[in-house]
């Protein structure tokens, strides 16, 4: 493979070695330079899966199915299988992932290690809530099967554990049943943040999937305007449309980022002005859940310098004020994002000691890397988030200071005893100083 890197291409670090685990019984070679870091499919916008001093364990070849119970929708598979490979098998059989991030190229192991969330967090919680069991393999050669109701907290340490507790070999998941591969999706335009909050409050209880896209360059009156999408799996249909996937590949790195204030402004405006369909229509699950997957290597549009993602969660009582403050800070600096994604998390407590999802509102943005100017802006956003009692998502962070991490993840001290002594990551070295 080409050099393993993170999806946002920051930081640019080279491991001492990269070892392909070919199947789940492969032992971890003694002679690999330590520390070890597991690399799934590199879909984190972060250094959680990178190392400079040690070796990467690559899991993508470890992608076999182990058991499937087609009556109860329970599947056991290798941790290196991608969601795409899993969907290809389960969707025709009438099953779907209970929770999915916005890319189907993440591996199951990566989803577990980041305890990822989807548009249905308010209904079904995060990925960890649907994990029935997994096997954890430690660098001393021991391995244990972990389940949610175990006495020992290995389950809680490993869900959202950023790959630090050891290698996850396989995962057993509870799936949800579907009638067909289609979604019923209603879209609404809203004029400002206030309208978003009202819309969200009224739609969340009826729709298992909700998310809003915000024009983050709009200022003043229009600040916070955007499109709200509410979806559910389509019921039985007598007649289904035909679906043809259209894929496109970003073939090279443009010499300069194609994302600049002009293209951002145009894109955000166009997106906001799109036709909406409040009564709802059928949309295939692929473009609904994974719109960005249609452009292979889309991360290249930012050029070689890469970009930063910024995703925070703000507790409910501060959510409205902090969200508008974040948006006005961004608009003022004209460093806007392609789209800002806004969504509320539900009350369900996450199962992992270091899980990111928690009650509140989450805002996600990406910023082209303009060096110090971008870092300064992100530091200002940090201050707003900290002040509001919020947290940043490690899977989408390439720069948060150690203090920010500790303030965001109060259980980090309870977590540290579970770290495998031979494991670490560029991220962990950065935030555990």
């Amino acid at each position: 493979m080409s050099k393993p890197c993170s999806w946002n291409r920051i930081p640019d670090v080279t491991p001492k070695a990269a070892y392909h685990l070919m199947h789940r019984l492969d032992p971890i070679p003694e002679e690999l330079p330590r520390p070890l870091t597991v690399y799934g499919n590199g879909r984190s916008y972060s250094d959680v899966g990178l190392t400079k001093e040690g070796s990467l364990l690559l899991t993508r070849d470890m992608n076999r199915l182990i058991e499937f119970d087609g009556y109860q929708g329970i599947i056991r598979c290798d941790a290196g299988i991608t969601l795409a490979q899993l969907l290809e098998f389960i969707v025709p059989k009438g099953w779907f992932l209970p929770v999915t991030p916005g890319t189907r190229f993440a591996t199951v192991g990566g989803c577990l290690a980041n305890d990822v969330h989807g548009k249905n967090h308010h209904a079904l919680g995060s990925f960890g809530h649907h994990v029935r069991a997994f096997e954890l393999c430690r660098s001393d050669g021991s391995h244990r099967v972990c389940r949610p109701d175990d006495q020992e907290p290995w389950f809680a340490a490993t869900i959202g554990g950023l790959g630090l507790t050891g290698l996850i070999r396989w995962v057993e998941l509870q799936l949800i049943s579907i009638e067909n591969p289609w979604m019923w999706v209603a879209s609404h335009r809203f004029d400002d943040l206030e309208a978003f909050w009202a819309m969200n409050a009224s739609l969340e209880s009826d729709w298992p999937y909700t998310v809003a896209w915000i024009d983050c360059l709009a200022k003043g009156q229009a600040q916070g305007r955007g499109i709200y999408l509410a979806g559910r799996h389509a019921g039985p249909q007598s007649d289904l449309p035909r679906y043809r996937s259209r894929n496109w590949e970003m073939p090279f790195d443009p010499p300069l980022s194609l994302v600049n204030s002009l293209s951002l402004k145009a894109f955000n405006q166009l997106y906001y002005k799109q036709k909406v369909c409040p009564s709802g229509k059928l949309v295939h699950h692929a473009p609904y859940f994974y719109p960005l997957d249609a452009i292979g290597q889309w991360n290249r549009i930012y050029g070689k310098k890469g970009f930063y993602q910024y995703q925070c969660v703000i507790p409910p009582h501060n959510a409205q004020a902090a969200t508008s403050e974040l948006l006005s800070t961004i608009a003022k600096r004209k460093q806007g994002s392609f789209l800002a994604v806004l969504k509320t998390f539900g009350e369900k407590p996450s199962l992992g000691l270091l899980s990111f999802p928690r009650p509140g509102t989450t805002l996600a943005l990406d910023f082209p890397n303009k060096g110090q100017a971008t870092l300064d802006l992100l530091a200002d956003l940090d201050a707003i988030v900290l002040d509001a009692g919020g947290a940043l998502y490690p899977a989408k962070d390439a720069r948060m200071p150690a203090a920010m991490f500790r303030a965001s993840f109060s259980d980090w001290e309870a977590f540290t005893p579970f770290i495998d002594p031979a494991f670490s990551s560029h991220f962990w070295q950065r935030v555990s100083l």
């Binding site: 493979m1 080409s2 050099k3 392909h20 070919m22 199947h23 789940r24 019984l25 070849d61 076999r64 199915l65 182990i66 058991e67 499937f68 098998f89």
Partner: protein, 252 residues
């Protein structure tokens, strides 16, 4: 269109063969898998069993294909397990350390043994059976673009693959009247364990999933010879036509 209902796969644990097996099983095929490493073979067959429908048979056994005296019984076991054979895919192979082969003939001969002679042994048995039963069928082998022309960087491997390609050509000629498809598959650079340690970025590298699709299609259509991905046909056309006087001076 050839039916690929009951398929014997030799070297089944190869990355390319495993992906091919997944596709065949998804299309409803019964398969018999022969692989060298029993552990890997078991994991692979477990995966295929999950993918298979209830009536589909997934079976196999571990064997080192260098043990040529076992070839006959392997084929027999597959036939017994599947009832009959519609198609066979031979996929095993090794990428030699060219430098080591240059130092010692023994090393070179070992590589020729596994990459060519073991294949010829299997093909001879299979061809005779397929010919005798008069039901058509598909004999497919993964050769390589490397067999199209000798190059200093890996001519031992190239010679072995070239022998397989040439052998297949003759066999195809012999079996054409028996309606047996003899399919030579020539992949270019594929991202598999065989090519570990290569710098694999760039447009010439393909994933085993992509090659597998091409293999299934070529077997169904009864193609004679396919380059996978297809653009290698053009590249090899040029490579084959560079005059030797010039070619010998290139560092390829």
């Amino acid at each position: 269109m050839n039916t690929l209902n009951r398929v014997l796969i030799l070297g089944a644990t190869s990355a390319i063969a495993e992906q091919t097996a997944r596709l065949l099983v998804a299309q409803g095929a019964h398969v018999y898998c022969v692989g060298r490493n029993p552990e890997k073979l078991q994991l692979m067959m477990d995966d295929l069993k999950v993918r298979a429908g209830s009536g589909q048979s997934i079976d196999g056994q571990a064997a080192d294909l260098n043990e040529m005296d076992r070839h006959e019984s392997l084929i027999e076991a597959a036939q017994t397990a599947l009832g009959n054979l519609d198609a066979v895919l031979i996929a095993h192979g090794t990428l030699p350390d060219q430098k080591a082969c240059e130092k010692e003939a023994e090393q070179a001969l070992k590589e020729i043994q596994i990459n060519a002679l073991s294949v010829i042994s299997l093909l001879t048995l299979l061809a005779n059976q397929f010919e005798a039963r008069q039901q058509g069928g598909v004999l497919a082998v993964i050769s390589s673009v490397a067999g199209d022309r000798g190059r200093q960087s890996n001519y031992v491997y190239g010679a072995a693959k070239g022998m397989v390609s040439l052998f297949m050509q003759g066999l195809r000629n012999r079996l054409s009247r028996s309606k047996i498809s003899v399919v030579t598959i020539k992949p270019g650079f594929v991202d598999t364990p065989m090519t570990d340690g290569f710098e694999k970025s760039g447009p010439l590298w393909a994933k085993p999933e992509v090659i597998a699709k091409g293999i299934v299609l070529a077997m169904q259509k009864g193609k004679d010879e396919v380059y996978l991905p297809g653009f290698w046909w053009g590249i090899m056309l040029i490579i084959r036509h560079i005059p030797e006087r010039l070619f010998k001076r290139l560092s390829l």
